[in-house]
């Protein structure tokens, strides 16, 4: 097993607002190993995006605050105590990130080229000409045709898929060891989605970087991930390899998610959905947070459940019925 690149433990990112304290991320732990692809899945509002932004410390503080006791260790270095300067040295260089909305993630008033070269010149100290050549190369690498022309175009002249490719090029530019991809395909057409995922997988293989893929779509997870973290209401509810999770989901929530996935073998059946919505982060239910929506709820669910390791595997789940 390769070494641990990123280790998040007991991460609590809370939002302090007038309406109360929103415990968006409430004690999340997981780790990413070098070269692997870890997926984080969950419905919107479960805290997965906040988790990813917390790693790069990109959340506006206030209102957000990473509570004491949390820890994010990247390659042996504790990030939560790091200076802003150190964080900037890491961002875009060691750890880079691509976002959900390719339409709005690129600055509309600068050319694609200048947005790529920015990171190159900052972190890799290239001069203007070198950076431009490298930018064109990167655009080619992410599959943009006519790269030497496109490099001078503005984001609005590109399609959504192309823009996401540009985002990936920016993220790749400094050969990061960890790429955080926050719902990279959600806003794209299905055909483009597949291309982008393929591209990501291919690049990971070539550059040997780890990928932390945030998504709500288990289908995506199945396609590209090695391991999965399932999040619900600010907490991790289940962890395991893709095969394990898909074959033997333990937590009722995970099962619910899987049931709502269209599958070839279940054609003709109604797709199931989980009733209800994720509760408000200022007002998590006491006890099991999924209890209200759980079809298998019992009295014991009124008590907060710890994460339980399943057997001697690396799998953990947060349900009292998960048999060890």
């Amino acid at each position: 097993m390769s070494k641990t690149l990123l280790s998040v433990s007991d991460l609590r990112t809370w939002f302090h607002t007038d309406q109360g304290v929103g415990r968006a991320v409430d004690g999340v732990s997981f780790e990413v190993r070098a070269g692997e692809t870890l997926g984080i899945v969950g419905e919107s509002g479960c805290g997965k995006t906040v988790t990813s932004l917390s790693i790069l410390r990109l959340l506006p503080e206030p209102p957000a605050r990473i509570e004491p006791g949390s820890s994010i260790v990247f390659d042996g270095e504790e990030l939560l105590g790091a200076t802003q300067e150190r964080m900037r040295a890491l961002r875009g260089n060691e750890i880079s990130m691509i976002f959900q909305e390719p339409m709005s993630s690129l600055n509309p008033v600068y050319t694609v080229g200048s947005q790529i070269t920015e990171a190159l010149r900052l972190h890799r100290k290239m001069d203007r000409v070198e950076a431009r050549t490298e930018a064109i190369r990167l655009l080619g690498e992410v599959g943009i045709p006519d790269a030497d022309r496109r490099v001078d175009e503005y984001p609005h002249q590109l399609s959504g898929g192309m823009r996401q490719r540009v985002m990936i090029a920016i993220a790749l530019s400094c050969e990061p060891r960890l790429l955080i991809a926050d719902e990279p395909t959600t806003a794209l057409d299905v055909t483009i989605q597949a291309q982008i995922l393929e591209l990501l997988a291919d690049l990971r293989a070539r550059h040997g970087m780890a990928v932390l893929l945030i998504t709500h779509d288990l289908g995506v997870v199945a396609e590209v991930c090695d391991r999965v973290v399932v999040m619900y209401a600010g907490q991790v509810v289940e962890t395991g390899t893709v095969d394990e999770i898909f074959a033997r989901p333990v937590h009722p929530y995970t099962r619910g998610l899987l049931a709502s996935l269209p599958a070839v073998e279940r054609r003709g059946q109604r797709l199931e959905s989980i009733p209800g919505t994720v509760p408000n982060s200022t007002d998590w239910p006491e006890g099991c947070r999924f209890a209200e929506r759980c079809s298998e709820v019992e009295d014991a669910c009124a008590v907060q459940q710890p994460l339980v390791q399943l057997g001697n595997t690396s799998r953990v789940a947060r349900c009292w019925r998960a048999d060890p």
Partner: protein
């Protein structure tokens, strides 16, 4: 996952080449200019009739109190061509207009063209300077306020700028005269004080060229301050709003995720986007500045066109009023056009399809 790096299908053809943008720009400017002609002529014509229809007879004003009889008044009217029917005067005015002659200003005793040539540049200098200061201050303050939303600095800057904005312009101007001219020089004996009026000192001719530049700037300080302080608050307010919107945008987060220092994130990525809507405000602010000059030029005895038009209306100096408002309107139209062009330059997404 075999050939993931295959060339992506060119799913959308949105590319517009730079060359076409350039061609669009000049055609757009031309179309706007042509469109502005009826607007400006329309405004001038309305002013022509409004001023003519206002009661009062300029010829009477040219008589000293106590003297004169109706014959003299009639003769003055004949000499000035005011005895002709209004439509004839209008046609004559239009004619003189197209020859660039603009007629004769009887309240200033000089051809309108000469009067405008002497006063309009002064007004442009004052308003240009005031606008530059107002936008400079407004943009800086608005940015600080947005970056530090709801902080003490945000509130204090708001209140300070709003305080000046809330002062009636003439009162602010007179206060500046009282404080920074009289009090500063005579009472507090500060080393720096500013002249209360005029564009240059009376010994201007004896100064070196550096001295002359300094003298002009020295005289600009009070009127430009008075004019710009009231504008800066509005600009800062829009800038704050615009900046607040922009710094919540994804691309600002992208910039941060690249590891850019905060300074670059704000001043390179956010500011340029936040500025675009501010640029179009030049078009809104120029008429405001021009209105402001009427009062400011009076207080500071600045020989400009705002004050000139006001006096000309009082004197029913029709040719001067009409020509003056024509140039004001023209400047406003050109400024709007300039603002739109600048906007388009600042924001590459804008194409000149419609006159926004």
């Amino acid at each position: 996952m075999t050939s993931g790096t295959a060339v992506a299908p060119n799913d959308e053809a949105t590319s517009v080449t730079e060359g076409r943008r350039g061609g669009d720009l000049s055609r757009y400017v031309l179309r706007r200019l042509v469109g502005a002609i009826p607007l400006v002529i329309g405004i001038s014509s309305i002013v022509f009739f409004v001023v003519h229809l206002a009661p009062g007879d300029p010829a009477r004003l040219l008589l000293p109190p106590g003297g004169g009889d109706q014959d003299v008044i009639d003769q003055i009217r004949r000499n000035l061509g005011l005895d002709q029917p209004l439509h004839i005067q209008y046609v004559k005015w239009l004619g003189s207009f197209f020859t660039g002659n603009f007629g004769y200003s009887f309240s200033q005793g000089a051809p309108v063209r000469a009067v405008l040539a002497n006063t309009f540049p002064n007004t442009l200098l004052l308003s240009g300077f005031a606008l530059a200061v107002a936008f400079g201050v407004g943009i800086v303050v608005g940015t600080i306020q947005a970056v530090r939303q709801y902080s003490a600095a945000d509130s204090i800057l708001s209140v300070v700028l709003l305080f000046f904005y809330s002062m009636p312009g003439f009162w602010l101007a007179l206060m500046l005269v009282l404080m920074l001219s009289y009090q500063a020089r005579n009472i507090w004996e500060w080393p720096i004080w500013f002249p209360a009026s005029a564009m240059v000192s009376s010994d201007f001719g004896d100064l070196s060229s550096v001295g002359r530049l300094a003298d002009r700037l020295w005289h600009l300080v009070l009127p430009a301050t008075a004019l710009s302080l009231s504008l800066a608050a509005g600009i800062a307010r829009y800038m704050r709003g615009s900046m607040l919107e922009v710094i919540r945008q994804d691309y600002v987060r992208t910039a941060r995720s690249k590891g850019l220092p905060e300074r670059l994130v704000i001043f390179k990525h956010a500011l340029r986007n936040a500025l675009s809507p501010i640029i179009t405000m030049v078009g809104v602010y120029i008429p405001m500045v021009f209105s402001g000059t009427v009062i400011i030029e009076s207080v500071f005895a600045w020989p400009g066109m705002g004050r000139m038009i006001f006096d000309a209306i009082g004197a029913r100096d029709y040719p001067l009023v009409v020509a003056g408002t024509f140039f004001f309107a023209l400047t406003v139209v050109l400024a709007n056009l300039l603002a739109d062009v600048l906007y388009a330059i600042a924001d590459p997404r804008i194409r000149y399809e419609s006159d926004v």
